[in-house]
Every structure is written in C-alpha cells, then in structure tokens.
Symmetry: C2
Amino acid sequence: MSYRAPVEEISYFLKTSTSLPELMAQGVVDLSFDVVDAVLDEAGKFAGSVVAPFDRVADKQGCTIKDGAVTTPEGMRAAYEAWTEAGWCGVAAEEEFGGQNLPTSVTSALTEFWNAASPAFGICGVLTLGAIEALTAHGAPQLQHIFLPKMVAGTWTGTMNLTEPQAGSDLAALRSKAVKQADGTYRIFGTKIFITYGEHDIAENIVHLVLARLPDAPAGTRGISLFVVPKFLVNEDGSLGAHNDVVCAGIEHKLGLHGSPTCTMTFGEKGEGAIGYLVGEENRGLACMFTMMNNARLAVGVQGVAVAERATQRAFAYAKDRKQGKAPGVEGSAPIIAHPDVKRMLLTMRAETDAARALCLKTADALDRSRLLPDPIARAAALAEASLLTPVAKAFSTDAGIEVSSLGIQVHGGMGYVEETGAAQHLRDARIFAIYEGTNGIQAIDLVTRKLTQEGGDVVNALIADYRETAEEVSALNAPDFGHAGPRLAEAVDALGRATRVMLDRVADEPAKALAAATPYLRLYARAAGGAFLARTALAAYAERAGGATDPRLAARIAVARFFAENLAVEAKGLEEAVTGGAGGVLEAEAVLAIG
Amino acid sequence: MSYRAPVEEISYFLKTSTSLPELMAQGVVDLSFDVVDAVLDEAGKFAGSVVAPFDRVADKQGCTIKDGAVTTPEGMRAAYEAWTEAGWCGVAAEEEFGGQNLPTSVTSALTEFWNAASPAFGICGVLTLGAIEALTAHGAPQLQHIFLPKMVAGTWTGTMNLTEPQAGSDLAALRSKAVKQADGTYRIFGTKIFITYGEHDIAENIVHLVLARLPDAPAGTRGISLFVVPKFLVNEDGSLGAHNDVVCAGIEHKLGLHGSPTCTMTFGEKGEGAIGYLVGEENRGLACMFTMMNNARLAVGVQGVAVAERATQRAFAYAKDRKQGKAPGVEGSAPIIAHPDVKRMLLTMRAETDAARALCLKTADALDRSRLLPDPIARAAALAEASLLTPVAKAFSTDAGIEVSSLGIQVHGGMGYVEETGAAQHLRDARIFAIYEGTNGIQAIDLVTRKLTQEGGDVVNALIADYRETAEEVSALNAPDFGHAGPRLAEAVDALGRATRVMLDRVADEPAKALAAATPYLRLYARAAGGAFLARTALAAYAERAGGATDPRLAARIAVARFFAENLAVEAKGLEEAVTGGAGGVLEAEAVLAIG
C-alpha cells in the first residue's frame, strides 16, 4: 500500500494550533505558509515515492555483517543518497553550517514523513540531527568546522554511544574510558551496545558521539565526558584518513526495524585506543548529551506518530476494500468499514494518531518559541512548557504507535498476521519506540519528579488552565457536531487538575508513591491535553464551517475530536483513581513480587 | 528461561472458586483433589521439561514446505509423540473412545500448560480436541468408531477447515462444494486458507473437518454442511489406505507461531474430489461446527492466559536479576524490581494474567456444571452462564495476552527487543489469539446481541448480582490488606449494571448503537467480573490467614486482587462512559471514514 503524507492535516494544525503564524507575523520566522506548504508537499512526495517503496524489502532482507562491515538492505543507500542530495538532512540545522534552520514544528512534520515511509530509514536522520545539535550547542568551533558541514549535508552520519551492557537506563554505571593525550586528543576504550547505525554502508563516514570516563573522574553521572570519535579520521584538508580504532563487533537480531543496523561497537580493541575529541567540558558530558536526548525524545515520539499514521492508512484502505458480511444500507457483501465495531477500531486509530501528533507538534512549537521569541521571559516560559510536554509527547506517542499498529493488525483479521500484508511490520517496528531514548517509564518519572515541580507547579497549572478553557469553549458552543465532547473534556481536565495536586504533594512528601503512580499520571495528562489539542483544532474547523467553508476535512476534524473526548478522554476518571488510590497497592505487594 | 507451571495457583482456584468440590461431593465427578493435583503436577512437569525447551528453536526454525509436504521444526515430532504416549491428548475426551473425561476446568489448566510451554505445539492439541468434540456430538457411530479412538490417542490429529479467501468472519460466503455419491460418501472441492496444522509430519494421519455446500443447498449459513475428510483414507481394518485428494498448496509466513504450520488446503484439485463423510445432517454443518468453535473459543482464551503467564514469569525473572540504578533500602545497584514503576508493570502483568485465567476457569466450570449437574434446570442455567462468559473469556484473555506480553518486552528494556531474549516472541505469538476462532470484535458482538439477551437479561443480571455480593463482602471485611478494593469493585460492578441496562434497551431499539459499543462493553464486563473473581479467591485466602495459615501465596492473592481493583477495575467508569455516551460519535463520523 502506498503512503500518503498527511500534508493538509499538518498544515492545518500548524496554521490553527501553533504559534507559527504569530512567529511569522513577528518576523522571527522568515517564512510564509506558501513556503511551508511547498516544503511539506515536496517532502511528502519524496517520502511516498522514494522512501516508502523499499521499506518492506528492507524489513525482509535486514542487515548483515561480515568482518566488521555492515551491509544494509538493497535500496537503502540509493534512497539515502537521493534524500541527502535533495537537501533533506539539514533542514533543522543552522544556516551557518549549510542547514535551513526551519522551525522544529515544520521539521517534526518532515521527521514524521520519513519515518512513516520507513522508520528503519528515518531513524538514521534522527540520530544525525541529534549529533548535529549536540555539536552545535557544545562543540568547539574547530570541531564544528570539521564535522558539521558534512553532517548537515548528510555525507557523514551521526550516532549516540551511551548504552553499555551494565549501563542502560542508568548511565551512572558506565565504564568506557577516555585517556587524555599530550596533543589534546583523547584515547577511548570500551564497548557500547544498541548503537543505531553504528556501522553501515550508506555514507562516507560515521561520527560517533561517545560517553566515557576520564581516569580521575568522579563516580556517577558527574564523571562522564562526551567525545567525538569519527570512524575515519579527518585530515587537515577535510579528506578522510585512517580508520579509527572503532569496530562493529556484531549486530542484533531484532523484533523489528530490520533495515536499521543495531550495533555493538568496540573502541580501542586493537590497543592504543580510538582517537576522540572532547565536546564541551570534561565531566560535563551528560549535560551535553541531554541536549541531544531531549530533541531525540521528541523525534522518537514523532516516530510513534509516523508508524501509527502508516498503520492507520493501511487499515482504512483494507477496510474499504475487504468485503465481509452484511451491513445496514449496503447491498450484498459490505466493506468491513461499514460494520460499527470496525468503525470504532478505525476511529480509535485515527484519533490516537492525531492526538499523538498534536502532542508532538505542540511540543515542537513550544521549543520554537523557546528559541525564537524576542522576550527572554517568554522564551523561558516556553522552554518550561516544552520540557514538560516532551516526556508526555515521547511516551504517549510511542504507546499510541504500539496500540494503533496492533489495532491495524486486528482490522486486517487473519491477513494481518501474515507478514506479506505489511500490517504486522508496523507493530514490530513500533515496539522499540517505547524503549529507546529513555523508556516510557523513565519519561513518566521525569515528568513527575522534574517537570511538574517547575516553578512550584505554576507551569503545569497554567497549561491545565489552558486545556480547561478549550473544554469550556467546546461546551459553550453547544453544537451537536461536538456531541458531549465539552463536558467529557472538562471532566478529563478536572481529573488531571486533581491528580496533579496530589502528585505535587507526593513529590515533596511521599516520593515512592509519586513514582508508583507516574505512568498512569502521564497517560492521564495525555488524555486531557491530547483531547484539548484536538478540540482546539476542531474549534477552528467549526468556525470555518460556520463561515460557509465546506471542505469535508473540517467536519472530519470535529468528528475526531468528538470521538476522542467521548471514547478515549473518558479514561481520565479511572486513571485519576489509579494515580490517587492505586499507588499503595503497588508498594504493598511484596508478597506478589517475591513469588512472581 | 524455564517455565514453571502454576500448579498451586490453579489448584487453589479450583478448590476455592469453582464448583469442582461440590461436583466431587455429589459424586458426579469421580475424582479427588489428590488426583487432580497429581494430574496438574505431572502435566506441569511434562510441559516444563519436554515441551518448553524446544519452543525457541521452533520459533527460529519455523516450518517448511516442499512438494506439498510440510516439515515441522526439529523436536516437534519427538515432543508430540512423547505427549501422546503419556496420554495427554485424550484427557478431555469420553472414556468410551479412550479418553479420561476429565472436567473442563481441569483440562483447561492442562491446555494452559502446553500452550505456555509452546503455543505452536499446544494449538495442535486444541484443534484435535475440537474435532473430537464435534465428532462426539454429531458424528454417526460408524464415523466415531473409525476416527475417534485414533484421535483421542493423538495418533491422528484434527483440523478445522472453515476459512476461504472470500469467507473469513462471514462463513455465509463460503463456496467449497460437496457432491453426494451413490455410495453415500461425498466428493469435496475447494480451497481453504489459514488451516492450522493442515499438513505436518508429526502424526500418521490428519482428520480434516470441512465446511462445504451441496449443489442444491440454500444460500447463506443454512446451506452449509460439515464433512470429515481424512488425509489418508482408512481401510475397513483401520489401516491407512490411499492419499485422499487433499493437498497443502502453501504455508503462511506469519508474525508468530512459527512452529505451527498455517496451510492453504486444496480439496479435489486432481479431478474427482476429495472423499468426505457427512457429519450430522445436510445443511446443518454450521451448528455442528459451533460445538467445536465454542470450546475452541475458550481454549484460545486459555492460550492468551498461557502466553501471558509465560511472559510474566520471564519478566519477573529478568527484573529480579537485572541491576540498574538506585532504590531506597538497596545497597549499590538495585534489581529493577525494586523500582516502583517496574513493580507497577509486573503487578499489572500478574493481575491481568490471573484475572484472565479466572475468567477462563469460571467459564470452564460453568461448562462442567452444564454437563454434569443432575438437575436439568440447573444444567440449563449453567449453560446460559457458560454461553455468556465464553466470549468474555476469549476476548479479554487474548487481549491480555497481547498487553501482558508487550509489557514483558518493556520490562526487559532494550534486551526485550532482541529476539534471543525470548520476550518478543510472546508478543508475536499472542497477536493471533485475538483474531482466530472469531475475532474479538465478533466475540463482543456475540456477547451483546446473543448472550446478554438470554432470558430477557435475567442471566446477566444474576451474574452481576453475584459480582456485587463479592464486592460487598470485601467492603464489609474492612481489612487493610484489601486497601480500597471493596468500593472500587462495587463501582465497577455498578457501572456494569448500568451499562447492561442501556445495552439491553439498545439491542431491542438501536442495534447499530449496541454494536458500536460492544467492544468497550465486553471490556467493562471483564473488568467487573475479573475483579470479582480475583476478590472471591482472595477472600478465601484471607479467611485462611485469619485462621492462622502463613503460606505467603495467601497474602499474594489478596495483594493481586487489591491491585486489580484499585488500578485496573477503575477503568470501569470510563468504559461505561464509552458504552453509554460514545456510540453516537462512532456512528456519526462518516466524514472521518470517507477520508481515512
């Protein structure tokens, strides 16, 4: 099935539900929506026609390794080269290094397109961009000069080397070593696992960003430094030199993302260590890596949206084509989309996907404001908002990716279980998004322990007040098209408000209870915020219809917001109960935990 | 990781929460719990030591086909032979044909063990048993005499041939033909797809039960007849004769269950048709097949429990072993089971698994009463109860299989995404259970349109009253160990009561709305009933503890029931809202459905 990038949907959302129009009007974003639409359109076409077609082949063939060299599936290199030649790699980077400095709300849309077309392809660009951002923010000018232009062009790709066998979520436990040399460079020794695109055959060089410890570094996370370790060393004239002492020792056999190599990387196995260059200050590596990780977390949320969108499109196409059984008003055998229970599945897929996208784009928008607004106080407020929304966007969207792709299999019936259909691959691919770049449990803990407490709770409470306003506007409209969306949303927002108060108290007084309720709290947040965001877009659509516009997409946006409020946001009550009344049962279940 | 069959758990449930003790006391079940425990124990050991070890290999190797012959993975045949030699195939069958006629509550436990050890192995026995049941209930004595002893012994396996490319959920659309011969046999022509163990190398013969139409049959489901079509014809002396004209034309490349061949079967391709024997009456085949399907539906629910149990055991073992981060009260690096968010995941897995098992065993128990109670009125009531619980047990347990195995991956972090770990296989295997033997959507529709309406709603209302009584007993106890489980359960049961009244009205007056709310209704039912069943067992455990018993399993049962009530049954409110207020938004979303 072909992939159709949701260009109109995203364009509409950017116009009605983000600050992009305002940023354009203020002149801090030097773009018009004509240009934005043209970019989205071009990218959508590229994703559908160049990237999407080889995704199934990539899944089937997978990657292979021989003598440390990794071969990616047929077509991957050609697609990657076409993609970089078209200039897509550098859209988010600074113009100084050859990038286009597009707003994150726009580049997030592009990230969605590449990853919907093929997540095994798209993840490579996500990591390169993360490395670009870390170097842009923390690299010395000389390092930037050597590496950034090539990375922005996509000629060289980037990686994040964090995880070690004993150090996954707990980076404090990492052991890779870095030894300073007389010439100011470092020698790196150690083994890193789960390194996406750690080795491949699609670009000239690979720029590894590696966390390691200096010999005299303090224990824990305050003794970690960040280094650039290129696969091939770079000569003074910019040409490639010797192969650095970094080797791919193996690739993983994974549930999905078969087209993307997941590598075990060994540094300094041959003896003298891999040559590395310090990024930022010694022992401050984790702070530098966090620059990369926060943006990567949003990008992984977008991957969840991407696969959910692809699965949703596939399920709709199948449900319109497949005939089975009778339905009221349909002669003969009915397309299964006519059956109410199938409608419910499809609407759930569409509503979850759109809510996840809204969460990601609102996060991206807050990031844009935090970077671009002229007023420093407004920038700080936007940054606090982005910080709070990032874990919600990451965790909810990746959970949605799993749930929606699983529902997509269900819509296909028995055919969904047969790999050739393509529906099953989406679930296999999506399953990692909830794990990498900080598991969703860690996102929930981050939200509760570090983000809610910003400004003593003022940040979260202001956002909740904003969601409440949206719910009240829907209620005040009293329009049949919205059904009971207004009151249902208001209930969800109120539940979030009450749960937030409880959690703020707990973070101070009963931290274990806060942790035990973090996951349902994050989901509750997403139910209320996602519902409010969809409703905000639907209110814009309603106003346009009231003004005489007849595009059927307007009615569809209202129906999706209504469905979400009436069928999904209603989870809020139960989630509130789990947050406020469920933590005790988690912490007092030692007998169960002992037995298993 | 080795599999440990939950023998004590199931034995405790059978003793405290089913009518098995009463049936034993009445003498209609000629067993003691000593015998039952010994059977469970033996089966558990066999599953853990003989079946489980080859499951990963079977997944990796999969099945192959060459010239119509299917080769199953290494070890499958040996395990199957050992299993039949130990007599496990016929435990549920009538003694007359060599079976042991054990109660369904006990044989369901055994089905769980085989399928937890290896669902690709276990499903073969499920299908053979289904075929045995159909022949036992509807076959002519001569057919029974030829086929049943061999099938009960497991020397011959059974299949269900229903699905055709154009006839999946809609059996009315099936086209396979059957032509009566002068000798009373029939000639069968047609193609069937998705036939589990349609061809294999683990037993001497394969007994296909095939749905087909006679030339003059009425259209739709009233024109379908059921036939026995053996792979090898059977000579008068019981020895095997010529190969029948039934051929495996291909096997599917599936998401999971790689060890189990899923076949396309062609009947009568060579010209004269496959020789078949009528089961039951002409044109009444669907009724006969339903005998098989209802029991198979429960067995598939049990498959969901089985994989959930296996995934849960694996996750607990990993979480106790894997060290990462700090936790209060733990020196150095803590096992991840010490982290509250991980505790929540593990408790969710355990509680969902136990609730699913309780639903399946309560269904099995109702089936036993429907067959064994002396009083015909009591038997009819038990049958109505079993009919109502079957779709709930099937759909909820298979959804739980998916959710729990997905959580199992999450507990493993990045390792969960690597196939060698084994966690990912559970999700791949479990994903089909929600689809085959009637999709979960069809189960929900069956529940709402055919089962709720039994006796004008009296059946369901009596069951709800029973669940309410359990909730009230928990509340009345006012025991700290139960936390707020009593009120939370009572709320869930009340929500179910209200939603049931709405649905009963709708089935009569607004059928489309009933269908549009069927899936959340089924889930609501399972939340209330599952919570009540776990609480019933926990009340028994509480009483034993009050009497001085100290087995830590008793405390664990209470903690699981509490966790379920406080964290999962609380979903009930939102589900009620989706049932009562969400259907309109499903049916008035044509704009969304048109666009996709």
